[in-house]
Every structure is written in structure tokens, then in C-alpha cells.
Symmetry: C2
Subunit: 193 residues, 2 copies
């Protein structure tokens, strides 16, 4: 199901995931912490853990964004909640407004930005998330996260996560602007690596 | 099913997860990276992400340890693999030899050590892992990871993860001793916080 249809089809209830501006601010604090952690590990040259946390930040943005409208109960699959489905959260994070950002296009170049958008929209983040955390066998040999995630991918993912946050949540509360100062500064630092 | 029975019941095949000392060394490098990342975030006062990575390190230790004997196919549940089940991995990490460690008992005190062992053996790590990464509603209000994981719990979990690694994997290859020097130094640093 297309992600917009899915969101439109979700029931409007009084049981939304996020129920006040204060709650949204708490979620924003948590998301910015994840982005900061991702950057900390990126600057420590630990690219796979950084990538895992960038993807987690995208998931939490989607929950905070759409969670003001719904409790996440799946419109068709009984007992399922879209906020517990990685693939759906990734697609909900990768809104078409994200690649319009000029700073993101400048930092990633058009091809790389398109590649990351495509990964987020088409379940590529699901595999990348697993590859970033767990070792596994692949074509007869053992592969560890540091072999799957290089500096360039980690850089793309954290810049993408910052833009996803900025696009979906900044402007919704006064507090979001303060937190945006933190992530804007991180964007500039990472961009120049 | 008791974890020892489970391990004993797994089929011995030529398709083990880990098939050579070199592969084990790669897995060890990955695990030590996770422990280092957990410590980096702990020292940055980001306790929830640190806790998440400590639990992930325990999971990867269990995979590396038991994965030399089996491919992880569940003996009873067709199509299931124990290396993809968080609860089983946590129980496989919390071997009875872990709490015998004097340094761990000295650092955590007996009660706290028992509490962490109990969490690992009885699915408490499953909830802690989720609490450490995701915001959620709980009893009518929004709760974020920083409210669920405090410095003390993050400290206990990273010291526990280091001991789990030491207990299960150090001594199995020459390389494991070198990596143990890194985690021993981290243990001492964290202990004194």
C-alpha cells in the first residue's frame, strides 16, 4: 500500500500516540539525542553504529510526525501497528518534501540523495539497519557491520536523518526551533567531512 | 525451554554460523566495537543509546559463542532461528559463569548483579532494549528512553556486556586476548564512575 493511502486510511481516534505539544517536545528531545549519538559515533569513526542510530532517528521522526494524528493501528491488518513496522516507518520518514532541501542536495549530490530516498521508500533501510548492527553469513562468508557500512553511507544517513527531522517536525513547537539549532550545527560539521 | 536444553537440542551441521578462527576474530572485532560505542555514549551522558548497544553486544556474543556449534535453526519451531530471537540470545549470553566474576560483583554489588542476570535470563532485556531506543505511551503518558534508562542501569549493562564477552570469547583465539586489553581498560574506566 502506498504510504499516503496508508496514513489517510488510519482511524482518527482520541488515543493518538502524541497528545500534546509537551509530549511532542519530549519526542523531539529524544530524536535530537539519537541524532547527536549518531554524530558522536560518526566522529569516532564507528560508521555502522552511527548508521543504525540515524535510521532509528528517522523511525522516531515518523512516529512523532504521524503520531499526532493516529494511534498507529493498521487500517487493514488487525492487531498490527504501523509504528512497530520498520519498513512503514522508513517510508513515512522519506516524505517527498525531504529531497527538495537544497542543503541536502548540495551535501549529498543528486544521485546519492536519490539513492538514499529510494532505500528509505523501498525497504532498503530495513536491510541496512540489520547490516549495521549484526554480523551474519552472506554468500558463504561471515560479514560484519563495518564491512557493510562505510563512511560515505553513514555520512549520507545522518545528514538525511537531520533533514527528515527538520522537514517533519521543526516549526511545530517553539522548542523545536531551539533543537533545530543543534541539528543545523551538526549538519554543517558532518557536511564538511 | 531452558537455554541449555535448547542449545543441546540444536542440530550439529557443517553450516555453522562461525566456521573458522578468522571468522570468530571478525565477530570479536565487531563485538568490541559495540562495547566501545556503548562506552563512548555512556561517557557522553547518553545512557539509553549506550544501554541499547550493551544489550546488542550481549546478543552478538551469544551468536559468536554458540554459532561455532550450530547454524541456529530452532530444534522445535520450524523456520525459526534462535540467533534472530532477542530473548533467547539474552538468555544464552547470561551464562552462570558470568556472575562468578569477582570484578563484576565488586563493581555492581551482589544485588545489582543478580538483578541484571535475572533481567537477561527472564526476558527483561527485551523490554529494556525497546525502552532504550523508542518512545512509547505508558499508563496514559508519553515516555522517552532517557526517562527509562538512568546512568546506573547503563553502567551496569555495559560492565555486564564486557564480562559476558570476556567470559564467553576471550581465550578462544590469540586475537581475543588483544581485544580483551581494550575491554579490560574500559571496564576499569566505567567502574570508577
Amino acid at each position: 500500500m502506498e504510504v499516503f493511502e496508508l496514513i489517510q486510511g488510519m482511524a482518527r481516534t482520541d488515543e493518538n500516540l502524541i497528545r500534546s505539544a509537551d509530549e511532542l517536545d519530549k519526542a523531539i528531545d529524544h530524536i535530537v539525542q539519537l541524532i547527536q549519538d549518531s554524530c558522536t559515533l560518526y566522529f569516532s569513526d564507528s560508521y555502522s553504529s552511527s548508521a543504525f542510530l540515524s535510521i532509528s532517528a528517522c523511525e522516531e521522526v515518523a512516529k512523532a510526525h504521524i503520531g499526532s494524528l493516529t494511534d498507529g493501528k493498521h487500517p487493514e491488518k488487525k492487531g498490527r501497528n504501523v509504528f512497530r513496522d520498520h519498513k512503514t516507518k522508513h517510508a513515512m520518514a522519506a516524505l517527498p518534501t525531504v529531497p527538495i532541501s537544497q542543503r541536502l542536495e548540495d551535501a549529498l549530490r543528486k544521485d546519492e540523495l536519490q539513492r538514499v530516498m529510494n532505500m528509505a521508500q523501498n525497504a532498503g533501510f530495513v536491510q541496512t539497519r540489520e547490516n549495521a548492527l549484526y554480523f551474519q553469513r552472506e554468500k558463504g562468508s561471515l560479514v560484519i557491520p563495518s564491512e557493510k557500512i562505510d563512511k560515505n553511507l553513514a555520512r549520507s544517513l545522518v545528514l538525511f536523518a537531520i533533514e527528515v527531522f527538520d522537514d517533519a517536525l521543526v516549526g511545530m513547537t517553539n522548542h523545536s526551533y531551539e533543537m533545530d539549532d543543534i541539528t543545523d550545527a551538526l549538519f554543517e560539521q558532518i557536511k564538511n567531512t
